[in-house]
Amino acid sequence: MSAVIVLRQMLRDRTRSTIWWSVAMIALVVAVGASYPTIKASAGGLEDLMESMPEGLGELLGAAGGITSPVGYLNSQFYSNMFPILLLVFGIGIASWSVAGAEREGTLEPLLANPVRRSRVALGRYAGLVLLLAVVVVVTTLVLIALRGPFQLSEISVANLVAAGVASFLLALLFATITYAVGAATGRKGLAAALGGGLAAATYVVFGLGSFVSALESVRWLSPWYWFLEPSPLVDGWTLASIALPLLVIVPAVALGTVWFTRRDLR
């Protein structure tokens, strides 16, 4: 019950910012989607350009499947960069505040003086992170599904767009969860955000460069971006790697961070 009260307050506090984030995401997805018919029309020239690029560079740009097919276009322009990166910024911001940020601003201690367990406060706020991130993903995915006809993207099934949405959500949640867990365990907001964001960037580089830097190729499978994009949910729908592997990181990280938080000194 107390976790719900903490969650409800968090959702109330963040309604406005979540609306703004959703609006920005809708603007992004509409801009990307609305450009597709034009790209499709000039397909020939663009494909030639892609052909002339060294092997691997296409993948680095998130365009292994070419950039003029609906799947290749959405992957290269949306799912392999802008969308998950913005979700990450949104998620890590909330995650770093949830425990460590609140602790640093001084609002966590008075909250914990109430008859509420530390674990309930932490998990209530983690639930808030999950919900807010989900809202932004759902809104964006719904807009994309609704407009896929006019955007000439109907070749991609609704089920696969949903699968890609869920996979993006889990990718962003994975790094946000690391931020949450580090913040809960240490009370250091800066460290938590840096680790979450840094790990996202590092694994992105490993994934992107791994396709043509042989030294990185052997560790490419470790990158959550690899789980997310190869094979792409836009093509293969619900892939085990994009759903199960993030959960394998998320669940233990939440548990560890929360337990650690209940045992340590507040800062």
């Binding site: 107390s2 009260i5 903490v6 307050q9 506090d13 601003e105 001084g106 609002t107 201690e109 008075p110 909250l111 914990l112 003086a113 109430n114 008859p115 509420v116 367990r117 530390r118 045992r263 340590r264 000194d265 507040l266």
Partner: protein, 298 residues
């Protein structure tokens, strides 16, 4: 015999190499106000944060209402005013109090509303717009609104004007009357003097003296500044009990008196006194014997 509401046994708290609290024993019974005195950095806040379960003791035990401080059942009966008051800035006072009330199982709004009125706090304002003093009022309202059986107050009146200070002290007295145990920390003796039944003096994490307020008064030093209308012979205060450190500056004299000032006042009656000022804010001055050289060897 019932167990004391607050019981601290051999508490030790270290942060790395720094020992913030050292073998502290302290109990507060129901219906008692305990004044925890000490300058900044003496370990008052660390002790209090252990009492609320924010810090884990390095050694020793902290027991609240015969239970562990992090127990939810205990927290229900505890009210806490932090020394450093920070609430969510974007919230209106009313919304913050309602939220905290919900976490306490639902406190009817009438209760905090009355307290806000009593402290002249406008509940429709946002926390972030409030002055330090007004934020402290929010802390006081949320600590008192559920009529707690244990009050833990870390310098609760700092930043409040004298009238409101008196209001807060009255609220504390009412809770004591109702049987609550109160731990009242302060670095100002006069404040604690008016409210505490017993006082403990903390220095560098150790309780260097604990006594009934009445007994402490006898060892407290007072620094007085007396200004005379006319010339007074320099030897006027010779032989006055407890007096020391007489310093003349024209027609003004600074003296330090240990214990009662009764003899000094009688002697002063022989002269025409224009002004009498006490400088008793500084704890280290007041309990010189404990904070000065005397503090090291007990």
């Amino acid at each position: 015999m019932t167990a004391p509401a607050i019981e601290i046994r051999a508490l030790n708290k270290r942060f790395g190499r720094l020992t913030a609290v050292d073998s502290l024993d302290l109990t507060v019974s129901s219906g008692e106000v305990y004044g925890l005195l000490g300058p900044n950095g003496a370990g008052k806040t660390t002790t209090i944060r252990c009492l609320l379960g924010f810090l884990n003791p390095t050694a020793g035990d902290v027991i609240l209402l015969a239970d562990h401080p992090s127990s939810v059942a205990v927290r229900r009966r505890v009210g806490y005013v932090a020394g450093d008051v920070t609430f969510d800035r974007h919230l209106k006072v009313r919304d913050l109090l309602a939220w905290y009330g919900d976490l306490r199982g639902g406190v009817p709004w009438a209760r905090p509303a009355t307290l806000c009125e009593r402290l002249a706090l406008d509940p429709t304002r946002k926390v972030g717009e409030l002055s330090t003093g007004n934020r402290r009022k929010v802390a006081i309202v949320q600590a008192f609104m559920h009529d707690p059986d244990v009050l833990i107050l870390d310098e609760p009146t700092a930043g409040l004007d004298p009238l409101l200070q008196r209001n807060v002290l009255d609220m504390v007295r009412e809770r004591r009357q109702a049987g609550a145990a109160v731990l009242f920390s302060s670095h100002l003796l006069p404040e604690v003097e008016n409210i505490a039944d017993r006082v403990g003096i903390l220095r560098l994490g150790r309780l260097i003296r604990e006594d009934a307020m009445a007994n402490l008064r006898n060892i407290a030093r007072q620094r007085l500044e007396i200004r005379f209308a006319g010339d007074v012979p320099a030897a006027a205060f010779e032989g006055v009990a407890g007096i020391s450190g007489v310093q003349w500056n024209g027609r003004t004299v600074h003296v330090v008196v240990e214990g009662s000032v009764a003899t000094l006042i009688k002697r002063l009656a022989d002269f025409e006194v224009e002004r009498l000022v006490t400088h008793d804010e500084d704890l280290e001055d007041i309990f010189f014997a404990y904070y000065g050289n005397g503090g090291e060897d007990q």
